[in-house]
Symmetry: C2
Subunit: 561 residues, 2 copies
């Protein structure tokens, strides 16, 4: 172990995933202060919503801190193939261009993403479990854990200052249906071999008080449900929950039904699994073309869209026909998934549309048809005891999760600290200490452009959504006087104001009146004229329709040529 007098230090800083669920990206560093060699663990995305990020395609972590220190970054490690851990790779890797390590299934998904983005597959290096990778002062091993996607892993990160376990996403599942089971012995051995300095640990389910249940515990319930269903059986879950896809498919088979996967994300995941050889014992499925000819009572669809996403298979089936399939009275639709907070309305829409068709709707029914892929509170406590780390640094959670998780650790006599995105922790000594704070933003993938969350672009979109938009154009001629009257065009505003008056007409009347009485000084000054016209628009709008719209003023000046 490095002596305490060493000028080298071991640091940790989340760029994403600490203070939110999603967008995971964590930095570790070792070396002299501000010259530490760095590694990055995970490059995940978060998903946009209409409230705070309308029109945005994906939310990415802000890696500008890392980009400013690119010469110090040695490698990127991806723990598993879920979007909140790997999704940012094709969008941010071009800014980093460092080797990426992953296990075969994760690598297959990552390479697919790189290829789609026109990037090189070879950036991703395939690694085996429990095989140390040496990068700079770090030696990193992938330690298999159970989760809901194959080949999930924790990382065992050895540094001169001590051994770190970075849990990744995990649960304690002795029989996880896909991927390796959780194995206490492996972690015990790691802790015995070298004391654990710090455990960076998944906090998602810290508020779930009973021990987590195995994926294998719901198969029987599902078979039972499917056997008792009369018409077509449809089940939805996350495409990336490969374990559930298998559990559902096996339950369908057990109930004597042919299984058909619907939805692009689902087919992609299964293809990656089959190509990487990880899903060899996956139940055989039929294509949708074959499915159309199978009697409803003998068919089970497994479809995307468990969160009510408008373009996914679930929503399309709820609205009407989709790829020749159509739901009707007597069919059963199962949500084998949890509702992610914020998606209630979208899911509700799908449920009500299905209800209108007379479809029986079954939700996860308090755990009968769904289990989480994350460790619950007693499981976290078990892992703390198993590893007996000097410190627990909670990650993968909102502030309330991190705080609760830290409380569990300190209650058990383990050092802990709440470190949200941008808080740098010095792990070198016996006590984790905050040693820096960097303001972290978020980056939006908007179409094909990357936009900073604080750049004002999305703020303007939100304002137009709330307030509508008015364009005013006017022409000023060669001698500095108004040519004709200003025009107003509006978008997203009521056409009629007070007393049934046409809003645009009223507005143009008042603008014309203003321009008619405005002095040459104002007409000569673009800034002043723009400000004055905006003021007129806002005032008239407030009077007529009770709103203050966003305004674009276009002043065209004819030059004396």
């Amino acid at each position: 172990m490095a002596p305490k007098t060493s000028p080298d230090r071991l640091i940790y800083m989340p760029l994403g995933g600490a203070g939110e669920i999603g967008m995971n990206a964590y930095i570790y560093g070792y070396g002299p202060k501000d010259r530490e060699r760095l590694i990055l663990v995970d490059m995940g995305v978060a998903f946009p919503d209409m409230d705070s990020s309308p029109g945005v395609d994906l939310i990415l972590p802000d890696i500008s801190w890392l980009v400013d220190r690119l010469d110090r970054l040695d490698a990127i490690f991806i723990t598993h193939g879920h979007e909140d851990h790997i999704g940012a790779l094709p969008h941010l890797w071009p800014l980093l261009k460092k080797p990426v390590y992953a296990r075969p299934f994760t690598a297959a998904l990552g390479r697919g993403k790189m290829e789609e983005a026109g990037l090189s597959r070879d950036a991703i290096r395939v690694v085996g479990p429990m095989t140390p990778i040496e990068v700079g002062p770090f030696s990193v091993q992938y330690v298999p854990v159970s989760h809901s996607i194959p080949e999930s892993a924790a990382l065992c990160i050895d540094t001169p200052a001590g051994r770190i376990i970075h849990s990744g996403d995990f649960k304690l599942d002795p029989n996880p249906v896909v991927g390796e089971p959780w194995d206490d012995k492996v972690f015990e051995a790691l802790a015995k071999e070298r004391p654990i300095k710090a455990l960076m640990c998944d906090s998602t389910n810290v508020f779930s008080k009973s021990p987590g249940r195995s994926e294998s515990s719901i198969g029987g319930n599902l078979s039972e449900l499917i056997k008792n269903a009369s018409g077509m059986m449809v089940a939805t879950t996350f495409a990336s929950n490969v374990a559930r896809l298998k559990t559902l498919a096996e339950a369908g088979k057990a109930a004597g039904r042919s299984v058909c996967f619907l939805g692009r994300a689902m087919r992609k995941m299964i293809t990656a699994g089959e190509e990487s050889g990880i899903l060899q014992r996956f139940p055989k499925s039929v294509t949708v073309e074959e499915a159309v000819d199978i009697p409803r009572g003998n068919l089970m669809l497994i479809v995307t869209g468990s969160q009510g996403e408008r373009r996914a298979a679930s929503a399309q089936l709820a609205r009407g026909k989709y790829l020749g399939m159509e739901l009707r009275e007597g069919d059963t639709f199962l949500f084998s998934s949890r509702t992610i907070p914020g998606n209630e309305r979208d899911i509700g829409r799908v449920v009500n549309q299905l209800s209108e068709k007379g479809v029986e709707i079954v939700d996860e029914s308090g755990g009968l048809y769904h289990v989480s892929g994350h460790a619950n509170r007693p499981d976290l406590e078990h892992v703390h005891r198993l590893l007996l780390p000097d410190m627990v640094i909670p990650m993968h959670g909102e502030h309330r999760h991190l705080r609760e998780h830290a409380k569990i650790a300190t209650d058990a006599g383990i050092q802990s600290v709440v470190a949200t995105n941008g808080i740098m922790i010095d792990l070198t000594g016996d006590v984790p200490g905050v040693c820096g704070y960097f303001q972290m933003g978020r980056v939006y993938l908007d179409g094909t452009a990357l936009v900073g969350a604080m750049d004002g672009v999305i703020r303007d979109r939100i304002r137009m959504a709330l307030n509508g938009h008015v364009t005013v154009t006017m022409i000023v001629d060669e001698d500095g006087s108004a040519l004709g009257e200003p025009w107003a065009d509006m978008m997203g505003l009521p056409p009629t104001g007070k007393g049934g008056r046409d809003f645009v007409e009223t507005l143009e009347g008042d603008l014309a009146e203003f321009v008619g009485s405005a002095g040459r000084k104002i007409l000569a000054d673009d800034d002043k004229l723009e400000e004055a016209l905006k003021r007129v628009v806002r005032q008239v709008a407030m009077e007529e329709i009770g709103k203050k719209p966003e305004v674009t003023i276009v002043i065209s000046r004819l030059s004396a040529e």
Copy 2:
């Protein structure tokens, strides 16, 4: 009872509240077909959200069907004072101008609303319980029910074709803290006096399988929690849940704390209660000015904002200081409320901000600190049995609730039908029959304007939020050729396109190129020119930033004067 050969019929049609939770408005009619005399029960609002109604202030039922038949409308009855039953009154009453009936507390709230809107208080007539009001062919009695606001009532509507019970919102609470208890005997007597032809019944909690619990059952839990809290105690609930305000205030008093109400809506509700004499035995509270000087351990705040509303007291306290009050480590914040689907993210924001302050957060804890104001499934079954109506028509619910409620009724051998907004039901015979369908919209209160949900105004705002907005202006001179080059202004779009190019510059370059090569025929035709310029904008934007913005084209033609 009217003989079946009578040409008169008894009809029912929801305008709002059937197919959604909120915006209640139900029509009853009796008389010759298409000449029925009409009454309206409730005029509620629903609340907007960013996904489907950004910038909208309130969602109101579409009463155009009624406005077209105004000569047939005799009266409006409000069952109770919750916003989803009375909120539309000041906005829609001017379109109807008919007498409004309500019990005193409801009338006090309604009169306050009318006054604020500059309308006459006298439109609202105060009625007592169990006192028949004769309007046209109807005789209507207010029958007290327990709910979470004082003087909630069902309506007993007598018509020549039979007696109807319109449940309003209700629960079976023998001790509802405010308002009258539920009384089986009253309803039994009504059914004995005259058989119940139809029960129009609240469906909100049809999926809750255990019997509802009394408001009085949580007082002890609350006192216990508050006694054990060390710092300041803060509790939030709906301001309109007057029962809970009282339960919370009494629990605070019992724990030896002074109670202070924070938030405009809360003070308003309490004032209405005190003025109408309904809250005479309400615990004494202190003002916020007094509260500032009370030691934290002796103080309890009851605040608005249980749904995370940004401007409410909860959110303000979570962000920082509010009216001199500030939360800190060791304080306790209780959500004595349920999360309305769709509000999870807003509530999560408040919770995480409180967590950052070190405040202990307590949620409703599975019913320990909250009970619903609506009847659960067994309670509904009890009421069906009590009244033994010929038919049950479910109301106050989304489609799935109505369908489930109808199933309960038919399973018990009672006729039922799912009637969503705009479906007219003929109740005259033994079986409820659909006798009409009118496409119902929703109306948005947007600022001070009323906008139809399908008018395209809000659709345009949503599009601008998703796609951003570009304004292109160009001037065509007297002889029909372009004067200078087109200008582009953008809002809510990334400034930089592919390869770091300035997006607006690229766009203006391509627009200039197009205009330069465009024939005089296109330049002469506003529609064609506009369409062509739009096409250029969309194409360039797609190439440069991967999005298709909304576009406003302004063509100014200089006339040869």
